[in-house]
């Protein structure tokens, strides 16, 4: 019997698995992709920490900056824990081999990111996420963690609000399997995939774990908060890290005039760019004054990306940029112990709403979150499994799901969902994106409701069992469709502007909304409520 079943193999999942294994648990990591294909590899800029308290920085400043960025929706207790642990978290990563860049005095180098005055962001050139992820993977191999790759999560097994396992589809052969476990950790990433073709994220970020947790009855929270990164390569949705601005890059319009303090929080910078673009202007990232040597030293990857994808040179050319969906603050509601509202179920990383980011996330805080709360989830899941003998799970659901998948494969494929997926992505970027208002969001909701029947009856053209990507993408799209409803419904209910959620029709922050939103399944309906932060 598996003690700890970790679903997802990015930075959060691997950290959780390593911790649970260290505590003596029998661990299995099940993942939709291969571990090093995970979204974590795309994090470039860095990971925040206060390594030394002095005149420059302190843990208290860090707590204040993070709380301020959250626009009162972060949970002070969780933020405090997160910031106080930051040094320990970096020290651990350093000790297992993450090659952090060093400064002249052989200390871990730190740079400036938006939303703070201090140099607080540790990095490994501009491959921070990649190097953390690969180091965690190497450690997983060292510690003989068992992996089941290319298995997509279909459903959590739940009885009387207790989760006892999960059902997966093996992508390699389309077989449906049930895995029972004493504790389950979701580390399945965010839902920027809703903004298909308008996101910097991997094609795999389709919120599968969040959708499964919702269907199992877990509380989700703050689903309306989506961070749009100010600088992705125009038309390509490829991220140029905040470090480009942190190192002194400018944002300029077509007259080469700067129009905003580049290190304002991401939501403000992104909106300023979007606004200019809607007035017909073009926006560029200007790094020319930094010079080739500095660019090569601090952002070699980005220089390469810009050259590979745009045939432009950072030291010579202006780089056209535009905002795109980058990070989802909402997710499965978790406590400081990484517990969800369902027994035996834990969540960590971008799929969780752990009370850190609130209405806006600071750059450099997501990598720290996946490791901090990955560890906590692993530790608590391991403890939770300790005193349990075994769990009894019925096999009814797995049979039903087998039939459901067979039905999908049998269905005649009348319409392809790919165009609907593109349509939905575009509609959400324009109507439930950087600037929101009731009328536009209602239109998005009506669109989703009109599509209900079509989506329920979707079939696939590919009927094969081996690596049926067509089927997988349909299953992912169904998750996108569910999450899109949660986003727009939560966004409609929050009649104010706060952080990344900006309402043209309610431009001010309202005290009445100093609350987190909750999305929960009530019978077959979506219920959106607001809860006090306690």
């Amino acid at each position: 019997m598996i003690d700890v079943l970790v679903i997802g193999s990015g930075g959060a999942g691997l950290t959780a698995a390593l911790k649970a294994k260290e505590l003596g648990s029998k661990v299995l990591v099940v993942s939709k992709t291969y571990p090093t294909h995970s979204q974590t590899c795309q994090a470039q800029g860095g990971i925040n920490a206060v390594l030394k308290e002095d005149q420059q920085d302190s843990v208290e400043n860090y707590i204040n900056d993070t709380y301020k960025a959250s626009h009162k929706l972060g949970k002070i207790e969780n933020i405090k824990f997160f910031c106080e642990k930051s040094k320990e978290t970096i020290t651990w990563l350093d000790s297992i081999g993450v090659p952090f860049s060093r400064d002249e005095n052989a200390n871990i180098a730190q740079r400036k990111f938006g939303g703070t005055k201090a140099k607080r962001t540790c990095y490994s050139s501009d491959y921070t996420g990649l190097k953390i992820l690969h180091t965690l993977y190497d450690q997983s191999i060292k510690n003989s963690i068992d992996f089941l790759n290319e298995h997509i999560l279909l459903e959590l097994l739940v009885k009387d609000s207790k989760v006892n396992g999960a059902i997966f589809l093996n992508i390699e052969n389309s077989k449906i399997i049930q895995i029972e476990a004493k504790s389950i950790i979701l580390a399945t990433g965010g839902y920027s995939g809703v903004y298909h073709q308008y996101t910097t994220n991997s094609y795999s970020s389709t919120g599968d774990g969040i959708a499964a947790a919702y269907r199992a009855g877990a509380k989700l929270s703050n689903m309306e908060f989506i961070q749009f990164h100010p600088t992705s390569l125009e038309g390509k949705n490829i991220l140029i890290s905040e470090s480009a601005r942190g190192e002194g890059g400018y944002l300029v319009d077509s007259k080469e005039q700067r129009f905003i303090d580049e290190l304002r929080p991401r939501d403000e910078v992104a909106r300023a760019i979007y606004k200019k673009q809607h007035q017909g202007d073009k926006i560029y990232l200007d790094l020319r004054h930094l010079g080739l040597e500095k660019i090569e030293a601090v952002m070699p990857q980005e220089r390469k990306l810009v050259y590979d994808f745009m045939k432009l040179k950072m030291e010579k050319d202006l780089i056209p940029v535009s905002p795109s969906a980058h990070y989802t603050m909402g997710g499965i509601l978790t406590t400081i112990d990484a517990k969800t509202t369902l027994e035996n179920l834990y969540a960590c990383g971008e799929c969780a709403q752990s009370g850190i980011h609130g209405a806006n996330r600071l750059g450099g805080n997501s990598l720290l979150e996946i490791v901090t709360f990955g560890k906590i989830a692993g530790e608590n899941a391991a403890k939770n499994s300790k005193n349990k003998e075994t769990v009894e799970v019925e096999k009814i659901r797995v049979q039903e799901i087998k039939k459901e998948i067979e039905e999908i494969l049998k269905k005649e494929c009348k319409t392809s969902f790919y165009s609907t997926k593109n349509e939905l992505g575009k509609l959400f970027f324009n109507n439930v994106g950087l600037f929101r208002e009731k009328k536009k969001m209602q239109k998005a909701l009506d669109y989703l409701e009109n599509k209900k029947e079509e989506i329920e009856n979707l079939g696939v053209a590919d009927k094969s069992k081996i690596h049926n990507k067509n089927l997988i993408e349909l299953l992912e799209f169904k998750n996108i469709y569910l999450i899109a409803q949660l986003i727009v419904k939560s966004a409609l209910k929050r009649e104010e502007s706060r952080g990344a959620h900006y309402r043209v029709d309610f431009e001010n922050e309202k005290e009445a909304f100093d609350k987190i939103s909750i999305s929960i399944k009530k019978e077959e309906n979506i219920e959106i409520l607001f809860e006090e932060i306690v």
Binding site: E104, N149, H467
Partner: protein, 246 residues
Amino acid sequence: MKIKIKRYNKEKNEQTTIEEYSVNHNETILNSLIEVKTKYDNSLGFRCGCKSGVCGSCAIRVNGVEKLACKTHLEDEDLIEPIKNTEVLKDLIVSLHHEESLLKIGHTFLNSNSLETITKEDEKKIDRQSNCILCQSCYSSCPVYEVNKEFLGPYTLTRALRYVNDKKESAPLEILKNIQTNGIWDCTLCGYCTIACPQFIDPKSDIMSLRMKSVQNGFEDKSLSAFNSSFDLGFNNDFGFNPNGF
């Protein structure tokens, strides 16, 4: 613009076929593959993820050369094939089961922390090697795999050097020990891996460094014996075999 794709679906046909499609999107080969999949044939199989060259999932061969689909521009009539030296599961999707076991045998991880101070220069020594994205391009390009599936190969050996050269590693000998058999001495130094790497890593030089470090640490220099026996093992002269490197 035309794209030719090598197709294989064992549920339909045991044979591979080359199919040709007309595409409008050629900014990247990945865009073209997505167009073929969504417009002409929903069953086309390929892996992809980050679309920005870091997840390593979309390695393919373009006219015989390993590339990342997301970073490569399509030219008219390009032939797209799956990467080599591993089982093709469907179309451009290949088995990746070997990866974990190769890394495990190579002990390519930090064994125990030396707690030494790491300087800027120390960190630079392992910077390039730790940029590896495990895309399998080098694995595909390597002629030694064709005759020896046990070979640890370029990315495992580059990763070995990444930890051997890491000042944090207090037991580099542990790693060197694990790469003597089916490892550094089996490489023909043909350099195909270096050409194939989308991250500009140079596994050939890394393997040469590992050989030097091995000899310095008292391991036997097997390069000459490998040369003598290689022809008996059925090596083909077409590999451009050169034991001294070039």
